[in-house]
Symmetry: D2
Subunit: 352 residues, 4 copies
């Protein structure tokens, strides 16, 4: 394989621009091969700003170009699965933003395409590439915590997204909690056997109107008796809140930082610090690291660190949580039918 | 009322000795009137160490002494209710360690005695007198957090208690989580309408043998849709862990400290601090403050800050949690019959 | 020696009351023998509040009482030396607040009296009994920091004292920096060989009028080339600031805490904590510990942990600093004449 | 001016590579025009890694190219002044790493060349572009601290540099403390009127052999009576230590972070965090921000944020400190002759 893969990018929205910067800033790791976005205005603006030569609104300019080795899929959620299937068809390694799709059927079709084509698919759970989460995972793997007995994983956004976003989001569990589901199963090394979810709409009419919730607690039980708890809110009131605590038989690890600027201000009325406002600041380095890791897998022809199976498993937990909330009772992991065929399933262990 | 009430103490175990020191250290607030303990050896040791003159193994020396205004009940759990009833009978103000009893029937009998005698009863939920919890409660009451939307309350002991303790403890929820139940309902200002509890025995055979659990997560839902989560463990592996986070529409409050000694040690292998090991260190000041608050209520003839009704309500939540765990499903707050008569119930709002 | 020494107290001002509480709260460690204060009004108020029976305005009631084993001297600075001499004359162990006196001559007379009487004298440098400072000292002694290369010691009061206090204080270096001088030489284990001091009056006319300064930096050099820096201010603007950093060849230790209440408040405008306001809160436990340590020395007939020689050495550094500031140049430690006779001097090593 | 200036880079050592990445990662802000380094091997390696086309060992390829708008000078210290003069001669905007030179004469010659050519020169004091330092400077400028009364500025490297580096470094004050001198005068808004410096060689024979020191404290006094203290060490033993505290009449600001990875590990033997090891991690974002700020000044034809005059003033303080240490006494700021002519001097106020 080319030691410097040619990489195409699909989508130049908020997260697409972040990946664009990563590709441009690392000429030693890849060659930027072109940008595709269906929004021609946005495309032209980006092309002018970054002096990009190869831009198009036609996705075939990427998939029909045999010199392109890999693609970053950062377009809107409903296009992910089709792009993944197209990448599989053309033998292109693909990195996709989460989720693969909002339902298991589409997800399974995409994963099957990748499976039978024998291509590569990485899902954008960027937390795993944060230095804090990575260090925690390493310590757990090294046995420094003993047996894992409880995980507490919290994630809060500063303010609810606009109604248009809510509508297409797939609901709180598929859109937001999915990061927590991936995080918990990755740190624990297993999927839970039981899920119980409660949730409410407390931030306003938009969420209620969308039939969604904005505040939730999910409790999970694992086969070995260990437990996990996930807290979510669409509106923290103070900024972006991502903290995880892992408790083991030998001690615990707390992951998370809150201060954005390294300053403390001491006054007669107390001491003040600022707080990280959004995920873009908190995970700036992780967004770069996940793409570099993907490029490394492409170059060295190895498995990616976050597989399609991981993406599917997190979605499945989101669906179970939704079901539990709807029914008002705990759900056993086996209660939601698993559409994927058994050969695929056998590959679907947790990437660690 | 005497501006300096005469106070008797029942029990000179671990917590009894703490209360003894408080009484002796505050001659400006009370007059120490005598100590009773059924263990004659312990009694003699304490009497010699502290030069106590009035000690006895006979509880009637306290209740038959008309000059005694108040009593601190720090004897073993199974004696609390009888002591409370005796205090009520003799018109003595009583402060009792938690729980009042391990079942609602005994609790109700004790509360009824206090109610009909018109005496005073304070329950030893010392957290409420910790400067951190008190400040949080004040900020919440002042509306600084807006509407409370989620509470996360964690409590972990460094190591499991001995089997003999477990046997008489009434189980994790009545013995340990009861503090969290009180804390959550006090901070929220309401009782939950639904509880779901999961738990496991992960620390060893002793807990299993006692039919108990040592690790649990309790999820609660309130009538206004707000949520709460309580985490417990009998064995943290690193020390005493008591932290509470309250999330409101306008921001959040984190309560809790972990460092025991104000020292950070910076070395080539990282930075090290110590950690509080036990509740006696964490709540040293709160144990003193709750007794001083009780004495103040006695002197000024006002209601105590933590009532018998609070003690009963926390026990009821513990029983509901136990039932939820047994049944493997959420329990509505009304599902456990409420033996207390309606006149009493009407008095049983949350002390705030 | 009596396992429970009878202790008299001289002075019931701010710090005297703190020591009074310690004596009353520890009947197992001492017997409170009486209080003397020249202010009859204050004396009566305290006597009534704490139900004290033996109080007097006449100091001889303490020194003429042969049953009194020890005395705590917490009266105003100008009386310390005379009380110490009286204690020496009557064979009474003495604990004195700092400083022994404001000049070396009076100090030497008091120390000589103690020396020739063979009695016991402890000076109230309470920092040494703070758990943080004690832990740091232990780690240094254990070699965990390697060779000590630099010490930074900061101390700031929230607001300047009243003019009346300033007038009798002896100036910033003797009144405030004296704690830092003791701290640095105790942690380092040596006296410096050179001192350079700069200072200014920045907080207002009162300090200028008193011919004093309120803001200063003192730099010290030790014979082994290691360095130290002391920062002081009479007005921090935010509370009480006591922090010490010790840097060695193998790492560093930071001592100090700032938060009073274990609460963090997260809002849209940032994160807020409170700050300790005054030394009484910061060193509450240390004030108790130093007196208990003194009582222990009395009971076990051993040397105290902070000797008169330590008190004298800190005063000498304060005088050197003052001289350096006056002359505008560094002062060698030998430049200020040493009035004490050589036999005493030979005993005057640093207590560690 | 071109909205996207063409920028040449001189030097591809440690810091040169950092600036190279910044230039390559920001095609929207500049066009990378070529790299020059006298070391052909290093040059070829870098060219291959980053697919650079225009590289040369001949510096005239940059200065003879009329299409080049700006140059980043990251070569070794002794070449800075000549490159600055060449940039001035050819009308090229220049960003130079600190220091401009190790003596005032060369510095003045370079500044005069820039002055008479009317070109632009920025000096690489990156701290000013750190979000923490920038926020502190802003708060001070906004009067949030009131009058600045004391500044404490500390900087420690984890381990001493190799002997070859020490030899050409110009000594601790010119090489390391120069950052602190810039920082203190920038935060205070004035130069001090008096400096006193002490220093020692404590880390080993190499420093002694180089006639240098590795541990120092510099004390400064300003005309308004305010004070500052700078601590330096070549060997902290625990990592990179950069912390600054500014104390004003209304409160204080602490600048600095120490943790590299957002993880705390809680064990039975205490709580552990890691520590930033080196300046490259601590100031990663600041190195990028200072170059982007320079490019912005080029594009908008405005003054840079850190001028040549700032570079000269910091060097002058370093020379004063050295002289103070040599003489063993404080030095007044006027004591070191100022070779620069008066017209230049009049421009040399502090950039703020």
């Amino acid at each position: 394989m080319n030691a410097r893969p040619r990489v195409g990018l699909i989508g130049c929205g908020r997260i697409g621009k972040i990946h664009l910067r990563t590709l441009l800033a690392h000429p030693e790791r890849c060659e930027f091969a072109g940008l595709v976005d269906s929004n021609e205005g946005a495309l032209r603006t980006i092309a002018a700003e970054y002096r990009l030569e190869t831009v198009s609104t036609d996705i075939s300019t990427i998939f029909d170009d045999p010199t392109i080795d890999a693609v970053i899929i950062a377009s809107s959620t409903e296009t992910h699965a089709a792009c993944i299937e197209e990448a599989a068809r053309t033998g292109t390694s693909a990195f996709t933003e989460k989720p693969i799709a909002l339902d298991l059927e589409s997800t399974d079709r995409a994963l099957a395409a990748v499976h039978w084509a024998g291509t590569r698919l990485q899902v954008g759970f960027q937390r795993r590439f944060d230095s804090g989460y990575a260090a925690a995972h390493r310590k757990i793997a090294d046995g420094e915590l003993g047996t894992i007995e409880m995980i507490r994983d919290a994630m809060r956004d500063p303010a609810p997204p606009p109604p248009a976003y809510l509508e297409k989001s797939g609901g709180l569990f598929r859109d937001m909690t999915i990061h927590n589901f991936d995080c918990v199963r990755w740190l624990k090394g297993h999927d839970p056997v039981e899920i119980f979810a409660v949730g409410s709409a407390l931030t306003g009419d938009e969420v209620l109107a969308a039939g969604d919730i904005d505040t939730s607690i999910v409790t999970m039980r694992f086969a070995d008796g260990s437990l996990a708890s996930i807290e979510n809110s669409r509106r923290s009131g103070f900024g972006y809140d991502v903290r995880t605590e892992v408790f083991g038989s030998k001690g615990a690890i707390h992951i998370g930082d809150s201060r954005q600027t390294p300053v403390r201000h001491l006054t007669a009325s107390g001491v003040r610090e600022d707080h990280q406002y959004f995920f873009l600041e908190r995970f700036k380095d992780a967004y770069e690291a996940e793409v570099l890791s993907f490029l490394q897998a492409v170059v060295s022809d190895t498995e990616v660190e976050v597989t399609g199976a991981d993406g599917r498993a997190a979605l499945r937990l989101a669906i179970l949580a939704e079901e539990s909330r709807r029914l008002g009772r705990p759900i056993a992991a086996g209660e939601v039918a698993n559409g994927i065929d058994s050969e695929l399933e056998s590959r679907m262990t947790i990437s660690a």
